[in-house]
């Protein structure tokens, strides 16, 4: 049995007051079902990501009632930023095991306008250890800033070493409708933006957004635009920064499991979506995955390696750093963008001749990892 990604839907991300979390999930689901060309009644399983604003115990049931469907299977999932890809992996298993024919995966949150920045910062900081880390007063940016400080010291680099990554993401977003930030930025802009948790500055950090994203995973293609979910892989090696093995967060294990299942190597991958909650996040992931040498992710960005026509075309929608981050939907936009590339529907920002894509997301502090390989059906 195989599983196909038949539909994707991503709303615009940004500060867009009005809709609540479930409203965003509904908007994204409408887009994904229309993209797949199926009716709501054909969905027999629903997977929904958590929303920090809604904070509901049963997000998939909440969504299904509001959307107006009665699936045979429904459950919520929660592995931080990796949730969207983890849901895709579960959807794939449901389809492969013939438990479902069409699985709808939905996420959305009014994270920017539905809660204050202070509340959002405090809720997210709880990924730290309640007894050994949270009392120290850290935040998610602070935890990643510690990783950034260690990284820069390890490789003898200055803060400018990471700045080219957000600059590249912004250049991509300038060519993507719906991105939260589109005005091009420079390395000097990153370095002069206000410090959040040094060495990370405002432009090293993704924004908080309102928006939603959804996928449809099906047992058979619904059109020639359907893509094969060729492989998924996960790794969960720690929750807290104080338990993380330096250089061994689990990214490699997740990727190797996904690549192995898809029977491809990095040489075969044409387009990438790599989680970029902070400049340091994407640098560490790229280097752990072995795509760039240790300490060189920023230098590769400066050399154009992640451009549409570069060696590793990556996050061509602008990533979390510039398209935006509405919680679980944030990491799903990477997969939707890679799908659009593989369908050869990305217009002026199309990666030439792409056949195979790889998407990677992490949750917590590089705690939960999920990798996904997508292929054009003709390639498979």
């Amino acid at each position: 049995m195989t599983a196909l990604l038949t539909g994707v839907g991503v709303t615009a991300y940004g500060r867009q007051p009005g809709p609540d979390s479930v409203d965003w999930q509904v908007q994204a689901a409408e887009l994904a079902l229309a993209d797949a060309g199926i009716e709501p009644g054909e969905v027999d399983a629903v997977l929904t990501g958590y929303s920090t604003v809604a904070g509901h115990l049963m997000p998939a049931n909440l969504f299904s009632e509001r959307f107006g469907i009665r699936p045979a299977i429904a459950f919520g999932l929660s592995v931080g930023g990796a949730t969207g890809l983890a849901m895709l992996a579960e959807a794939t298993r449901l389809v492969e095991s013939a438990a479902a024919r069409h699985v709808l995966v939905a996420a959305g949150e009014n994270r920017a306008s539905g809660q204050s920045r202070e509340t959002s910062t405090r809720i997210l900081a709880q990924v730290g250890h309640a007894r050994y880390e949270v009392p120290l007063g850290g935040t998610v940016p602070a935890y990643y800033a510690l990783l950034a400080s260690r990284y820069l010291w390890t490789f003898g680099l200055g803060p400018e070493a990471l700045a080219s990554l957000p600059v590249q993401m912004r250049a991509h977003a300038s060519r993507k409708l719906g991105a939260q930030f589109q005005k091009p930025i420079t390395v000097a802009d990153v370095l002069s933006s206000r410090p959040v948790a040094e060495p990370l500055r405002l432009l090293d950090c993704c924004p908080v957004s309102d928006g939603g994203a959804a996928f449809v995973v099906s047992a058979t293609p619904t059109s020639e635009r359907s893509l094969l979910v060729a492989g998924t892989g996960q790794a969960h090696r720690h929750q807290h920064l104080s338990a993380m093995e330096p250089g061994g967060s689990g990214a490699v294990q997740a990727a190797q499991r996904a690549l192995g299942e898809a029977e491809v190597t990095w040489e075969d991958v044409d387009v990438f979506g790599i989680y970029d909650s902070f400049s340091i996040t994407v640098a560490l992931l790229l280097e752990e995955l072995g795509l760039t040498p240790p300490g060189r992710a920023g230098a590769y960005a400066r050399a154009g390696a992640f451009e549409v026509d570069g060696r590793f075309p990556m996050n061509t929608h602008g990533g979390l750093l510039s398209y935006g981050h509405c919680g679980v939907g944030g990491g799903m936009a990477h997969l939707a963008e890679v799908a659009t590339q593989l369908r050869h529907e990305r217009g002026a920002a199309q990666v030439a001749d792409c056949e195979v894509g790889y998407v990677h997301a992490d949750g917590g502090v590089l705690s939960a990892h999920v990798g996904v390989v997508l292929k054009r059906v003709a390639t498979a």
């Binding site: 007063g137 510690l146 948790a197 104080s242």
Partner: protein, 119 residues
Amino acid sequence: MSEPVPDWTAGEPVLFVTVCSLCGTTWYLPAEHCPVCGSGDHDVRAARGTGLCVAVTRVHVRADADDGVLCLGLLELDEGPVVMGRVHDPDLAAGDRARIEFRTDGPDGGLLPSFARQD
């Protein structure tokens, strides 16, 4: 489940590490089994409290209402594990040898590990 030994989180000025009796892996945060070999047989030992500072951050946007800058660091203990703590020595930087002091800077006057350059 093993009985927790009172440490800095319980107001005792000490930080423990746990050593796996089977494979020697050493870790910091409480865990019932060795994350490497799975053994449940381990010893809890007081850390010497010295190590190498591998990261420092000055946090400007804080989780609490305080406007001041908060300084945090990572200390790689001589025993191996990495510990997160406050940094009260303004000159401490990654690459410096450092030691842990326990200060009553925590919520409600609780103890927190804080790092300074080693004399």
